[in-house]
């Protein structure tokens, strides 16, 4: 039988615009193409701007992982200008990005991923009393009452009666591979709603320090929020007490709702620990949530696990990063074969795909706006599973204990963290970890204030007169979705070149010059065994793609400063 061609576009419940094209044979996926279908050109726009403004411009790459691009940007500029920032500002940045990660992961699970596992219509058949008993067996969360579940079921029933299904219109309800009992479905729907309330509350931490969310404010040289315990408008005890409360509520929800839900749901889908296996090389530059320039002592730093050896950590060397364009709608001056390091990055868009509206993109050699970054020639996965697997390989005790307990509960092996279920589980485990870090960072901030160390900004290098004539710097960060790096070159106080390599570029990339597929593609078609029962309702594919938490606006903002003279290119 000839292979069947399937197009899934749009992939919904993600950030940005992603299209997946597939070939299937006998209900299994044999080939996959990951096509990013949006391009914005933000790095080109950065040219000529004051580098102190770059954080605000790059932040607009993404409103979901909002904040992390700003952090990577201010760090790149501070690296270029050799600009140290006060310790207290570091702590505030860590709190802001850490809370961003916690919120982002929870939203991803409940609002972007859960409907892949949870049948909303089945929740209507649930018995609220039985649901309360089920919930009580896995968690002490006080809202897990029969009254609450009854109310949620009623709301849901009213919402869908009369045939107006709103966001649930045309969902894959009743698909034979939805496996949860009605009570588990009702519990998940209830937590879907509670998570919406929760995220609204705890993210205010970013508003207190950064003035707003999404897109809070940052500052090259520190943070703009002054601390003065004896002033009304500055950070004072009122705001600190609010933050204290948010951190406690963040952690409690993660431990009493998110974690038990993920483990309970995972128990019904254990075969997904062998589905969606992707590139066996994984990379991270540190632990999630840390924004600091140096990694705190004892915490896992940058490194890689290569070629399926999940016990041996290979040191990270940024010079081994190169971006390829064999399948991307760009040109390089010296052809499509060689990759380029970000310091020599070139991004000349040249679209040669079909004019929209079109039916297929995979007929062409080029089919995506995402470039293909490779490490030492290899496609690598980045994200929560990479971070946790690296920390385990380094025998980082808290991580070993956390991961070990979850694996034991589910009866899984460490290597199975490289899978659809593994990525989803690791995202949850890391949220438990980061919500714990928040308490430590906050205690550190309190202690700094108690000792009078309230400086949030270093004015030394603020004025461009104190900058070198030309400079270049790199800012690394572990975003919710994986390793993020910003690369900046500055001449005479202005940006001449700016390049970002974003987590979803690593993961969503297409084929490289040697025909090696990117991690999304690999996860779907790598072993020819990925299931797809009903091509019209591609539930299984969504599970696997969503397990990466795609952020496609991030992946394809690229468009750097080409044609501008560069005085000197040197590695940091």
């Amino acid at each position: 039988m000839a292979p069947e061609r399937i197009v899934i576009d749009p992939i919904t419940r993600i950030e940005g615009h992603l299209r997946i094209e597939l070939e299937t044979e006998n209900g299994r996926i044999s080939k996959a193409w990951s096509c990013a279908t949006q391009f914005r050109g933000i790095e080109r726009i950065l040219q000529g701007h004051d580098p102190r403004d770059a954080w605000a411009i790059t932040q607009r790459i993404c409103g979901v992982c909002t904040g992390i691009h700003a952090i990577a940007s201010v760090r790149a500029v501070e690296d270029a200008l050799k600009y140290p920032i006060p310790k207290t500002a570091e702590l505030i940045r860590s709190l802001v990005t850490g809370m961003g990660t916690v919120q982002d992961h929870v939203i991803h699970f409940y609002h972007l991923h859960a409907l892949d596992w949870v049948d909303v219509t089945s929740a209507l058949k649930a018995d609220p009393e039985k649901t309360a008993r089920l919930a009580a067996s896995i968690s002490a969360w006080p809202n897990n009452s029969a009254t609450r579940f009854q109310e949620v079921r009623q709301k849901l029933a009213k919402s869908v009666e009369g045939g107006q299904l709103s966001i649930f219109t045309n969902g894959y309800w009743g698909h034979p591979d939805y496996r949860l009992p009605p009570e588990a479905n009702l519990m998940a729907v209830s937590h879907y709603l509670e998570a919406l309330e929760w995220q609204r509350d705890i993210i205010k931490l970013q508003t207190i320090f950064g003035g707003k969310n999404p897109h809070p404010n940052f500052l090259v040289g520190g943070m703009a929020c002054s601390i003065n315990l004896d002033n009304q408008i500055t950070i004072n005890e009122v705001s600190l007490a609010q933050i204290d409360g948010m951190i406690r509520r963040a952690r409690r929800f993660v431990e009493e709702v998110y974690y038990p839900d993920v483990v309970a749901i995972a128990g019904f889908y254990k075969d997904y620990a062998d589905i969606g296996v992707s590139s066996p090389s994984l990379m991270a530059v540190g632990q999630s949530g840390y924004s600091c320039a140096g990694v705190p002592s004892g915490e896992p730093a940058a490194g890689l696990l290569l070629d399926g050896d999940f016990d041996r950590v290979v040191p990270f060397d940024h010079l081994k990063i190169a971006e390829f364009i064999a399948s991307s709608w760009y040109t390089y001056p010296d052809g499509d074969k060689a990759g380029r390091h970000p310091w020599q990055g070139e991004t000349n868009p040249r679209y040669n795909g079909p004019t929209p509206p079109y039916k297929h993109l995979s007929d062409g050699q080029k089919y995506t706006w995402s470039k293909a970054p490779r490490y030492d020639g290899r496609p690598v996965q980045v994200g929560p599973n990479a971070r946790l697997m690296l920390a385990v390989a380094r025998k980082h005790e808290p991580t070993v204990a956390l991961v070990g307990k979850a694996l034991q509960t589910l009866g899984l092996q460490k290597a199975q963290l490289n899978s659809t279920l593994g990525r989803t589980l690791c995202r949850c485990l890391e949220t438990v970890q980061v919500s714990g870090h928040l308490e430590q960072w906050f205690a550190g901030l309190r202690e700094a204030i108690r000792q009078g160390d309230t400086r949030t900004f270093n004015p030394e290098r603020w004025e461009p007169g104190n900058w070198p004539k030309s400079a270049q710097g790199v800012g690394f960060a572990e975003a919710a979705r994986g390793t993020l790096s910003h690369w900046v070159q500055i001449e005479n106080g202005r940006i001449t070149r700016y390049e970002c390599i974003v987590p979803s570029t690593w993961n969503s990339s297409g084929r490289d010059q040697d025909g090696r597929t990117g991690p999304y593609e690999e996860s779907l078609a790598g072993n020819g065994r990925h299931p797809l029962q009903d091509p019209k309702r591609p539930l299984e594919v969504l599970r696997t793609i969503h397990s990466f938490d795609p952020c496609i606006s991030c992946a394809v903002h690229l468009f750097d400063a080409t044609g501008l003279p560069l005085k000197e290119v040197k590695a940091v």
Binding site: V7, F39, R40, G63, V64, L193, P214, H215, P356, W462
Partner: protein, 394 residues
């Protein structure tokens, strides 16, 4: 805390029944329709007979209503605007989605993908609906810079707007292109009102707008049946009627000539004015100082950072460098009120060309007759002379 119970308005009841269940009498309902008619008629414009007819018409329309279908497109953008809508308190996005509107197409939230998602869109746009748009429309490369379901953003927008009863452009990208449209605008990004010129487009501006402003604009349509009053740039007056500067908690320090000179200096720790470190509050029409962000928690200036001016057109071109103070102004010290008023006057004149408080119908009529709604005007207060496509880089 549990989320507040939803006020369900279901298909099985008319809008009157719904309001009665909410505690309103029929008499109050008719009075409400009369008020809506008054708002629609703009007071003086309609005769009392017309107003009565309009009130009757509104009552009839509301009684035949189902939950309004909403199509919410995301084009060339970053999802920050929908994230902001998710932060809206009081009337939350989930209230809207589950009980007030039927959100039949939205990529971020909807359950199905691919074919089933496109089928939902096709069905929704074939009937009257409310269209909400995030994101800009890239016009270069025959639309290949943003393609969804195999169709260009522009074609998708045109298709979705054909039967749209109203169009709400949410966020700076949908307003005029925002970051994508910043010089040199590599993808030729434009706003919704540059493509949809045959009907009014409400611009809920900001990068992103405050969540409550987004949900309130949708509710305004759904409850009152007509668009909110807007300024010359299509921005609702209930949110964009005044400058941040007019209601800034640091304003007294501005008037007294007390300024932060460097971040976290002694003056910053006293909460002085941020004008000299680049604050664009004096040139920015936005609700931040009044409503504040994230359910009244704080806003940029309160948290010590200058306003970037993100509700104004082309702020990435016109408000940068962000840390440079607004040029061409004498720094107030003495005679401050006069200077402050001058700044205000200039900003009003230049930025919105005199906020015209038209009735909704007047605005609708005006915009319908105009091929292109008013776009950017020179922001003299920022040293601009002529409008440009994407603004000039400093």
């Amino acid at each position: 805390m549990l989320p507040a119970p939803f006020d369900q308005w279901t298909k099985n009841e008319t809008f009157t029944e719904y309001l009665v269940r909410q505690g309103l009498s029929r008499r109050q309902f008719l009075k409400f329709c009369g008020k809506v008619a008054l708002l629609l008629g703009g007071g003086a414009l309609l005769s009392s007979r017309d107003k009565k007819a309009l009130a009757k018409d509104i009552a009839e329309r509301l009684n035949s209503a189902k939950r309004p279908t909403v199509v919410w497109l995301q084009l060339q953008e970053c999802t920050g605007c929908l994230e902001s809508a998710l932060r809206s308190g009081d009337r939350t996005l989930e209230d809207l989605v589950l009980s007030i509107i039927s959100l039949d197409y939205n990529e971020l939230l909807m359950a199905p993908s691919g074919e089933q998602a496109n089928a939902a869109l096709g069905k929704a746009v074939a009937e009257p609906h409310l269209l909400v748009v995030n994101g800009s429309i890239p016009t270069k490369e025959k639309g290949a810079y943003c393609v969804i379901g195999g169709e260009s953003a522009e074609e998708l927008l045109r298709k979705a707007s054909r039967n749209a009863s109203a169009v709400i452009a949410v966020g700076a990208c949908a307003h005029y292109g925002c970051i994508q449209a910043a010089a040199p605008n590599p993808t030729g990004a434009v706003g919704v009102s540059d493509i949809i010129t045959d009907r009014p487009v409400i611009n809920v501006s900001g990068c992103p707008p405050i969540g409550e402003v987004i949900t309130a604009t949708i509710l305004y349509y759904v409850i009152y049946g007509h668009p909110p009053q807007v300024d010359q740039d299509g921005r609702p007056l209930f949110a964009y009627g005044q400058r941040i500067h007019d209601k800034c908690p640091r304003r007294a320090h501005y008037d007294a000539g007390q300024y932060v000179l460097s971040f976290d200096d002694e003056n910053a720790r006293k909460g002085y004015c941020l004008y000299k470190v680049g604050c664009k509050g004096p040139a920015t029409f936005a609700p931040c100082a009044i409503m504040e962000w994230n359910q009244g928690c704080s806003f940029p200036i309160k948290s010590g950072h200058p306003c970037l001016g993100c509700t104004e057109r082309h702020f990435f071109d016109r408000m940068t460098p962000f840390y440079k103070r607004i040029p061409g102004l004498q720094v107030p010290g003495t005679g401050v009120e006069l200077t402050a008023n001058q700044i205000g006057g200039l900003a009003v004149a230049a930025s919105v060309a005199g906020v015209a408080v038209h009735s909704a119908i007047t605005v609708v009529r005006k915009q319908q007759t105009k091929k292109h709604p008013p776009t950017s005007v020179p922001l003299a207060v920022l040293g601009e002379k002529e409008p440009t496509d994407s603004g000039g880089k400093k």
